[in-house]
Amino acid sequence: MLEVRGLTKTFGSITAVDGIDMQVAAGAIHGLIGPNGSGKSTTMNLISGTYRPTAGQVLLNGAAIGGQPAFRVARMGVVRTFQLTRVYGQLSLLEAVRIGALAGNGAPWNPRLWRPFRHDHPATEAAHDALRRMGLGPHADRNAGSLPSGMRRILSIATALAASPRVLLLDEPLAGLNASEKAEVADRIQQLRQDGLTILLVEHDVRSIMRLSDRITVINFGKVIATGTPAEIGRNEAVITAYLGDRRPAHAAG
């Protein structure tokens, strides 16, 4: 579904992402993990069009999306969320999610400049649907700016969902949440997978990603060091070394 080939990004003399290959299968949750500064966020920004790759390709069902501006990548079906949660805080939840639905439906130049009274619109239905799927239906009229952080995170996913993505990129969706919020967001993500959505999940929290993902790619220093199922990754020597360094516990070393 989503394929990354030899993706590379250099900033000056620093190579943040160095020839990453990755294949995200349709309908799966694919985890992308790595220690701090390993190039996870840069990879995310390269796929979503925030950065332009120095080399390599990003393919969605075989069509090249790498190097396109972010809004075109989104229209082609790859929509992301942000590590520092972004929502339209001045709107109601419904209106905020509706922006996602409007954005996803737009032609490159939208000639519909003038449709003041058309608000019983497919976009409104799409917004209601996205809110329902994320369990925010009862809060549709609340102000998005007043939400606690867990619900805010879920709202940001609902907004992306309303843009009808084929692949959803979630950038550390569990970061900074308390345990019950984490469980809630993880449940919602799992639910989306059951609905058939393809998800690329970047996460710091190894325990959660091991539980959520179907496959995992581990990167360190901008390079892929392991790919496999969570069980394989859990046993992988290179991964353990990358996370724990060489100061492994005595029983693991022995």
């Binding site: 229209r75 922006i99 954005a103 019983d120 619109h121």
Partner: protein, 322 residues
Amino acid sequence: MNGGTDTRRALRQDIGSVLALVIGTGALAMVSAAYVHGALVLFVLNAILVLSYRTITTMGGWSFAHVAIMGVGAYAVAILSAPPIGLPVLLCVAIGGVLAGLVAMALSWPVLRTRQYYFFLSTFAAGEALRQCFIQFKGLTGGTSGLAFIPRPGFIGDSAALPFLWLALAVFLALALAAVCFDASETGMKIRAVGEDETLSASLGLDAWGLRATAFVLGSVGAGIAGGLLASYNGIVAPNDFGAALMFKIVASCIVGGTRRAWGPLLGLIFLTVIEEAFRAVPVYVPLIWGGLVIVVTLYAPGGLESLVERVQRRFKGAAHA
């Protein structure tokens, strides 16, 4: 409740406030002495300016070039209505609006690359550059002394202000209704979304650049039309008509009134205009009072007067529900 009702109620409020302003101004003109009519004409032209300026602010940037772009419309009318071209004045006003939009489109290429303070600064520079063009291209613009003998539309007559006031009100009504409907439209919503969070909007598939440019160009068309009407009303244009003083008045109206809703800047403009008229005897104090007002509002009601009105409305509604 669904998303449509809120937007529709907002649209009804906006249309209501536009109609109230037109009727109120008209009624005031009927009961007041002739010397008031001139002030009312300028008030209505300023109302077109602040409303078109507010359209620009919805995309998240506060331009400082609005008045210079207004000058494009004014000079267009001055030049095109005079011999040897001699087009009808109202046609010239319309052309002036289009030209102002085209100038904004050209300017948007460099200035929309900047955000926030830098947008303010780059538009300030662009506006000054435009004003220098009015001064330097003497053959076309008459240099610092400007151009005179600009006619009014034939059916209006050159002496009294009242007939011109009706024309200005009619133009205001048309433009203001267009502006508030645009604000409630799908594109208007997208523009406000980009204004609130450009990164998020782009990640969802909104063409942020195109939407910001749309707001900038459409707002500038309004400014050009206001400028054309001003030129025709005054009968004369000069570069100093389009300087920082008027620009400050527009920005101050938007700060004092607030820009979340279309009626905010109009309320702000009414406030500033009333102060100006009340201190007619000592006009040197007016900028001082305006400046003080802007500081007080930014400190104590950062959303402007409209946020105060909405707070009172909410409290009232809350009491009604309880």
